[in-house]
């Protein structure tokens, strides 16, 4: 589904990714963990070219993002959820969700709204369709953001620390939605600090530090028998 081949990314002289190779299969839930500044968010953001790699190939669903013509097509197939939600504050929840399907998929307004309401029901916010983002709590905003991404019927969902900006009591409502998605077989790549989530629904865990994937394996492998010293150190600090 997503292939990254020797991806490097530099910001000025600072090399953030130093050769990332990975392959996400259909139906996998890949969890990326690592210390802050390790490059884990950059790995995720290269998958839909929000960051353009300095070198290397990113291939999503057979489309190489090196070819600029593929970028918007890939993005329409790849949903993304951000740490800070990034809902559109000047639009209602319903308009947030229906904008892209109408503009890109050329759905009719009625069709887009029907799907949007189904998705809102799924994330438990059907009664908030006419609300504006600022009227919602952080957890509700993030669930709307997930619904917005799902409205494009993506083949993959990318989550960039989706619960990091939330008050603790709202984390579980967002994780529950993500778990449901995983159980339905959605292919997901999740950058997170939620180790419980990683253990419960992750099919594979990657540990990234200093721009490299230092360790990968099943959650049991990585969390209980970490081989790399830095993985051990990181896990000892957060578990």
């Amino acid at each position: 589904m997503i292939k990254m081949i020797d991806v490097h990314k530099s910001f000025g002289k600072n090399e953030v990714l130093k050769g990332i190779n990975l392959h996400v299969e259909r139906g996998e839930v890949v969890v990326i963990i690592g210390p802050s500044g390790s490059g884990k968010s950059t790995v995720l953001r290269c998958m839909n070219y929000l960051e353009e790699p300095t070198s290397g190939d990113v291939i999503v669903d057979g489309m190489n993002l090196n070819n600029k013509e593929n970028i918007n097509n890939v993005r329409a197939e790849v949903g993304m959820v951000f740490q800070r939600f990034n809902l559109f504050p000047h639009m209602t929840v319903l308009d947030n969700i229906t904008l892209a399907p109408q503009k890109i998929r050329k759905s009719s307004k009625a069709d887009a709204e029907k799907i949007a309401l189904e998705l809102l029901e799924k994330v438990g916010l059907k009664d908030k369709a006419q609300a504006y983002p600022e009227q919602l709590s952080g957890g509700q905003q993030q669930r709307v953001a997930i619904a917005r991404a799902l409205a494009m019927k993506p083949k993959v969902m990318l989550f960039d620390e989706p619960t990091s900006a939330l008050d603790p009591e709202m984390v579980s409502e967002v994780l529950d939605v993500m778990k449901e998605l995983a159980n339905e077989g959605m292919t997901m790549v999740v950058v997170t600090h939620e180790m419980g989530f990683a253990k419960e629904v992750g099919t594979r865990v990657l540990f990234v530090d200093e721009g490299r994937i230092l360790e990968e394996g099943t959650p049991v492998d990585v969390f209980e028998h970490p081989k790399n010293e830095r993985t051990q150190l990181f896990l000892s600090k957060i578990l």
């Binding site: 929000l50 329409a76 951000f82 990034n86 809902l87 559109f88 000047h90 904008l99 892209a100 890109i104």
Partner: protein, 218 residues
């Protein structure tokens, strides 16, 4: 010294006609300036350095020289280059529009920059193009943010249009000058002119305040 009210009453219709022309030229200048400024601000986001450089030159040139000089350049100097005289109305509107556009482009730039980068990222991540994201997501928010400074520009431009009187264009200020040349009623007529300007600018302030409330700007 006595204040001769009859001077004002007798000439009031002439001054009001001037005020209408002032409004016309202001609306046209700000309207054209708005589009020039918006296009310049968007061009300034171009990835091509040469386009950004051209925008910068335009802004610095028209912000950095007096409007009065720009009016002279367009009305007196430009005809020598193109070998054809320019109608004062066209010259006045052109000079004011281009001048206003330079300021408005800076207002737009600040407005666009004030919108969180995550908005563009969210739009692009959904598959929207840069232009679609600008149009549906960034610009509507930027518009709201720039209503107050745009109102200031509108008021400033209304007052600056008095400068086009120097090319004989008969807007409010020029009408006042002409009446005074005939009646020597400097005190009365300039007072009347000032009050008419004030009424017009206060109306714009009210309009801006209304728009701010309507769009709920905090």
């Amino acid at each position: 010294m006595s204040f001769d009210w009859s001077l004002i009453w007798d000439n009031f219709p002439i001054l009001l006609q001037g005020a209408v022309i002032t409004i016309q030229i202001t609306v046209m200048a700000v309207g054209c300036g708005f589009f020039i400024g918006m296009i310049a601000a968007l061009a300034n986001l171009s990835r091509f350095k040469i386009i950004r450089l051209l925008v910068k030159c335009y802004v610095e040139l028209f912000r950095g020289t007096p409007l009065l000089v720009q009016i002279f350049m367009i009305y007196f100097a430009l005809p020598m280059v193109i070998g054809q005289s320019i109608n004062p109305y066209v010259a006045a509107v052109t000079a004011c529009s281009i001048n206003s556009g330079a300021y408005v482009s800076e207002i737009f730039r600040a407005g666009i920059q004030s919108i969180d980068k995550g908005q563009m990222e969210a739009g692009r991540s959904l598959g929207l193009t840069w232009a679609q994201t600008m149009r549906y997501i960034v610009m509507p928010q930027a518009f709201k943010a720039i209503i107050p400074p745009l109102g200031n520009e509108f008021i400033a431009m209304m007052k600056d249009t008095s400068l086009v009187s120097v090319i004989g264009f008969e807007e409010l200020t020029r009408r006042g000058q002409l009446i005074i040349a005939r009646t020597y009623g400097s005190f009365e007529i300039w007072t009347a002119v000032a009050i008419i300007y004030l009424v017009m600018t206060l109306s714009i302030s009210q309009l801006v305040a209304f728009l701010e409330r309507r769009y709920n700007i905090k």
